[in-house]
């Protein structure tokens, strides 16, 4: 199954759905495609559309998917990386009124250059071709933010108590 989560933003993302339709026809994909569409208005005989999914079902769909094609929200991207999924990301762009700015392209650039995901922002047909032989890089991110915050807060609390 191919899972396509497009987020919960109020803004339309029809461009991505059209690209998805093109991709399915171009490669004659027979696998089930499930789209969590959000607030776009689109219909297609090529995939199953669900506007929103409860969290447990969302997680289940990610787990069962062979490939995830997603909008470029940080939750969707890191969620797939954590579970070592093959992910194609489509950044929402300002010029098509998909987002108020182009910041989604920043994370897509960073993570696709790092080998974690494939960039499908401008063409899903091209991105799908790159899946062959693509093995996503393991989640090797590290984080020491919590201990630093604990240290800072300790200092602030004590300073004020003197």
């Amino acid at each position: 199954m191919i899972f396509v989560p497009l987020g919960t933003q109020a803004m339309d993302f029809t461009r991505c759905l059209k690209m998805l339709d093109d991709m399915i026809l171009h490669y004659d994909i027979k696998e089930d495609v499930i789209v969590q569409m959000g607030n776009s208005n689109y219909q297609s005989g090529n995939f199953k559309i669900i506007p929103f999914l409860p969290e447990e079902e969302f997680t289940k769909c990610i787990g069962e998917a062979s490939v995830v094609i997603s909008h470029a929200g940080s939750g969707a991207l890191f969620g797939a990386i954590k579970r070592h999924k093959k992910l194609i990301a489509v950044a929402r762009l300002k010029e098509y009124h998909e987002m108020v700015d182009d910041h989604q392209t920043e994370l897509v650039k960073k993570l696709s250059e790092g080998g974690y995901i494939i960039d499908g922002t401008h063409s899903l047909v091209e991105a799908w071709a790159k899946l062959d032989g693509f093995e996503p890089r393991e989640n090797d991110f590290e984080c020491e933010i919590t201990p630093r915050l604990v240290q800072l807060i300790e200092g602030w609390m004590n300073y004020d108590n003197q």
Partner: protein, 172 residues
Amino acid sequence: MERLNNIVFFACSEGGHFAQMMALSPMFAKYHSVLVTDNYRANKEMKALKDIEEIAIVGGTADSRKKNVGKKHNDSRWTYWRGYLKLFGQCRRVLKKYRPKVIVSTGSNIAVPLFWLGKFMGCKLAFIETRAHVYNKSLTGKLVGGISDVVIVQWPEMLNVYKKAEYYGVLV
């Protein structure tokens, strides 16, 4: 100035900001922690929130966003600003109620009224720039980076973007 309480606010808007805050959940048990969010689904049944003392929901901008759902191309600035004013009022109320010594935020817009009002109360402010921004400041960062006591960025490329930037990896 009235004394502040030994309370820590953890403030985040819904979506990715909320998810990043949940990655900090091991900290919640250490303090009298109050989660301030516009995510209506936040409740203490959630595993990550079991150690949160209290949850304060501030609707504001999230309310107005919901009303706009489905309407194409909706740029009603008036609705937005009305939501923002409401958020401001709600943030003022929770700050007065708890008088926290520290505010930690992963953004986004909820941090703006909390940090500015909190600054005047003498709160210590820790801003965690979202992992979604790799090369440039977020709008929230532009508005609160300067008054924060520390800005924690999540990509090394961002170290030069803020004066008070510190980098310790990314919340995954």
